[in-house]
């Protein structure tokens, strides 16, 4: 036997069951249910149907199913961009236009800096050798800031024989001429 609920109530029985109608609608349906056998029967069947669904058992997959899923996850993870890296950067990395050239570029930049430091390294005291040590040190500091990599050669310069004349004027000033 199948119950055929009345139109309006029939459309609201399911929500009535879930108490998901407005207060006014809940009361309207309830009032109708008191007098209507078909709607009451339909509601009871609906409730039993919901319970049959709720009582459905937990189905189980094949025993090797989840291990396969995790293996798949690990395999897929390898090809995914690292977290926090934008997709375009990642694609560029995958295409090899980023990692390798970057390493090359770093090496090239270092070589260029070294070359620059060699080229710009003063092979002799600055053309106009400072007359006093204070000024020389100031110049050295300035130069070292501008060409940090040449600092080592500057230090060698300071301690070298070539540097000797620069100190001579100091001795000169003291009046002890050679």
């Amino acid at each position: 036997m199948r119950f055929r609920p009345c139109d309006w109530v029939g459309e609201h029985l399911s929500a009535y069951l879930d108490e998901a109608l407005s207060g006014r609608e809940m009361r309207q349906v309830a009032a109708h249910l008191i007098t209507c056998h078909a709607c009451r029967g339909a509601l009871d069947d609906l409730r039993a149907t919901k319970q049959a669904l709720q009582g459905a058992e937990m189905p189980r997959p094949a025993p090797d199913f989840w291990p396969e899923v995790y293996a798949q996850v690990r395999q897929k993870s390898v090809s995914l961009p690292a977290p926090g890296i934008s997709r375009s950067t990642w694609r560029a990395q995958l295409a090899g236009v980023w990692t390798v050239p970057r390493a090359l570029a770093t090496a090239a930049a270092m070589a260029a800096m070294l070359l620059l430091s060699i080229l710009t390294r003063p092979t002799a005291p600055p053309a106009s050798a400072p007359d006093d040590l204070g000024e020389f040190i100031a110049q050295h500091a300035q130069h070292s800031t501008a060409y940090p990599l040449s600092d080592w050669s500057r230090m060698m310069f300071i301690g070298s024989e070539a540097n000797a004349p620069a100190t001579v004027p100091v001795a000169d000033e003291s009046g002890n001429a050679p």
């Binding site: 409730r47 919901k50 926090g84």
Partner: protein
Amino acid sequence: MGPRRSEKASRSALERTRLFEDLLRQHEDQIYRLAYRLTGNRDDAQDLIQDSVIDALVSFDRFCIGSRFDRWMQRIITNNFIDRHRARSKVKVESLDQPTGSEGEDERTLEVADVTTDPPQILEQRALDEPVQRALDELQAEYRAVVVLSDIEGYSYQEIATMLRVPIGTVRSRLNRGRNILREKLADYARQRYRR
């Protein structure tokens, strides 16, 4: 700078995979139950999960850690299921006139014959749930999804509406329609077991 950076990146990629797996492990049962009740059989359920898990992994960076992973996963599964069904029902229309019943019967008979190797618990469960699952299988995908999400998974109307990106009124009417179709199909079974 380069190597340290990529090392850091691969470590966080490992952490991500680890976290994803742990969250998945935590919710295997609900995930499988939803997929099974939607598709109605083990093979399709497993297919649906495999595809959905990969989809989830790919967009895992967009998952808000601390929000509910099971719901996020179930959302992906449900939407994939509905999409697949839409694609499939286009093909189905052409073969509507051909009797597909016998094919299904054969499969079912085969499955039942195979049951002897399964643990007794599963055998019993299949016998218990057969009518419910068969009735669900006959519902259109959109109705089936709403009924399963509501009555098996326990989602609220609002949650289902958000999940399927439809108005709450649509959830209400689909649920009403789906449940009433089931009511007609399952009346005797349900009355016998659940009606006082």
